[in-house]
């Protein structure tokens, strides 16, 4: 209704036209909603339904129960879930800790070209994941990798196909992602704040402790959960690199989908998927409000 008031048109002519406009508006949105309903909604419901149904192996009858969900939280499945959470948390914290100084260096640099180059590279590297990334690291630090051979790392107990190997590989796309997420927040730190702090006798440490970090905190936490979610969902890199040497929930689900699982356990994979969705949903629920909060300072 406010729209009709702001438009410089005589009201009687505007009313039917607006109604027609609304109708075409709905008509244009409909295909998008219908498409997502089918292509996204049906698999999502199938997953939910499968996660909550149990098939009796003897009679073939199905019934609703939470048996799959509780199975997905026990034994090897629980180990995999914890493995994924641990890997994602460690990678995300490290990437945040390493990405912040890098972003700060670039943001406060006098050289415009450096800033542009690093940010463009970060945009490209953040998109670098999956199989090629895994193979690049296998070629570098794998059993017969270039660095492994040149530096004799194998004798020193180095093994890329391990938890810490995966962390090192994940950092390759997580650090750039952190740089991209935190740069707008760092840009929002006014130089006047630093000058004001200094004029009041604050040291650099005090400025960071009492001014910069509190302002950055929502963005930092937001970036952290985003990185966590990104690492948590990653599958291709781990699959191409470690196979099943490191227990991860994505690898477990893939195993079950490919049929490498006990009969009657297929739905546990769906329950594991549901666990993942819950974790990812939690991540988003934390991320979105934080993002909104940080926007207040950057306005």
């Amino acid at each position: 209704m406010t729209v009709a008031l702001t438009e410089a048109e005589p009201a009687p002519a505007a009313a039917p036209r607006q109604r027609r406009r609304r109708a075409t508006g709905r008509l244009a949105v409909l295909p998008l909603l219908a498409f997502t309903g089918v292509a996204f909604g049906i698999p999502a419901l199938a997953m939910l339904n499968g996660a909550l149904t149990v098939k009796d192996p003897a009679t073939g009858a199905t019934s609703y129960s939470t048996a799959n969900l509780s199975a997905s939280l026990h034994g090897a499945y629980l180990t995999a879930l914890i493995g994924s959470v641990k890997l994602s948390a460690v990678s995300a914290v490290l990437a945040a800790a390493l990405g912040l100084p890098l972003a700060q260096t670039v943001v406060t640099s006098r050289f415009r070209a450096l800033r542009e180059a690093v940010l463009t590279a970060a945009g490209v590297l953040a998109n670098f994941g999956g199989v090629p990334l895994a193979f690049a690291f296998v070629a570098t630090l794998g059993n017969s990798g270039v660095l492994t051979r040149r530096l004799g790392l194998a004798d020193k107990g180095w093994n890329l196909y391990s938890f810490w190997g995966l962390v090192i590989v994940y950092l390759y796309f997580l650090i750039p992602l952190m740089v991209l997420t935190i740069t707008p927040a760092l840009d929002g730190l006014r130089t006047q704040w630093r000058e004001a702090a200094r004029n009041n006798g604050a040291t650099a440490f005090q400025y960071w402790r009492h001014v910069a970090l509190p302002v950055l905190l929502p963005s930092l936490l937001g970036g952290l959960v985003l990185l966590f979610g990104s690492a948590f969902a990653a599958y291709a890199t781990a699959a191409a690199m470690v196979g099943s040497a490191v227990p991860l929930v994505t690898l477990q689900i893939a195993d079950a989908i490919s049929g490498n699982v006990l009969v009657g356990q297929e739905n546990v994979a769906l329950a594991l998927s549901l666990d993942m969705v819950l974790v990812a949903g939690l991540v988003m629920a934390v991320y979105l409000p934080l993002q909104r909060r940080s926007a207040r300072w950057l306005a």
């Binding site: 997502t36 089918v38 945009g123 670098f128 690049a136 650090i175 991209l180 969902a233 893939a254 989908i257």
Partner: protein
């Protein structure tokens, strides 16, 4: 004044080392074969290896279809939201953001469950033919459906940013006052103004489809990323060479996006 003091140099040098060494090492790995010296065989072999052409072609076809479908669905919807139906906007925003909450592996678990319904329950209905058709290995349309869903959040963000920069309503009113019909106003006034955003969205989708592995592998199809993986088991040098090449291609695409459409601030997932 900010200066490049030793601390800054250390940070930049460390980052440079970490990000450049694996790339350099990959190239060395493919070129310097133990026992053979420096050879470029791995790169010349690529083209003649089984499945290279067909998998790359499949990936490009899937990408083209995905880009066409996702733009066809989102552009009219988002333009219409600006013009006429603002009340649907929160709904569309939520719908476009939902795929972010479902990791690709969970999504594909759902898809494969649905695809199993075909042989189990629908074998005597006409729907069964649809199930078979979408899984045609020559052109698995089911992948296009999945990729459109996965691209939605990024495409929505790119287009929304583009639409925010232009006043669609005023543009259309102006074009209409000058005698343009509604379709003319959209095609010749609104769309050219969205060129940057459309390019942005297309490139992001292209990069996503070319690199996508999870869904395609688990549904049993072999586009480019899955092919690289499958060569990796038998021919290490070759697979790393292909990885290096596919990286260069993807990066060239993304860099041209940075130059053409202004740097994208869209964080993608890994």
């Amino acid at each position: 004044m900010a200066r490049l003091n030793p601390w800054r140099w250390a940070v930049l040098a460390g980052a440079g080392l970490y990000f450049l060494v694996p790339l350099a090492a990959s190239v060395v790995f493919t070129v310097d074969v133990p026992g053979q010296g420096v050879t470029f065989d791995a790169y010349t072999e690529i083209v003649s290896t089984d499945g290279f052409g067909s998998s790359l072609l499949l990936s490009l076809e899937l990408a083209a279809a995905t880009i066409a479908l996702v733009l066809l669905l989102t552009v009219p919807a988002l333009v219409a939201l600006r013009l006429g139906a603002p009340r649907l906007r929160p709904l569309v925003e939520v719908v476009c953001a939902l795929p972010l909450v479902v990791p690709p592996i969970a999504f594909v678990a759902g898809i494969s469950t649905v695809l199993k319904w075909g042989p189990e329950h629908l074998s005597r209905t006409p729907l069964f033919q649809t199930f078979v058709a979408v899984q045609n290995p020559d052109f698995p349309f089911v992948l296009v459906l999945a990729y459109v869903v996965m691209a939605l959040p990024f495409v929505h963000r790119a287009l929304d940013a583009g639409l925010r920069a232009v006043d669609v309503r005023t543009l259309v009113e102006a074009a209409r006052s000058c005698g343009a019909s509604r379709p003319q106003a959209l095609l010749r006034v609104v769309l050219p103004n969205l060129r940057g955003a459309l390019l942005n969205a297309s490139f992001l989708t292209l990069a996503l489809v070319l690199g996508e592995f999870t869904v395609a592998q688990l549904l049993g199809f072999t586009p480019f990323a899955v092919w690289i993986y499958s060569v990796g088991g038998s021919q290490a040098q070759l697979s790393v060479a292909v990885s290096v090449l596919s990286l260069l291609v993807t990066w060239a695409l993304l860099l041209s996006l940075a130059v053409l459409g202004g740097r994208s601030r869209t964080p993608a997932r890994g």
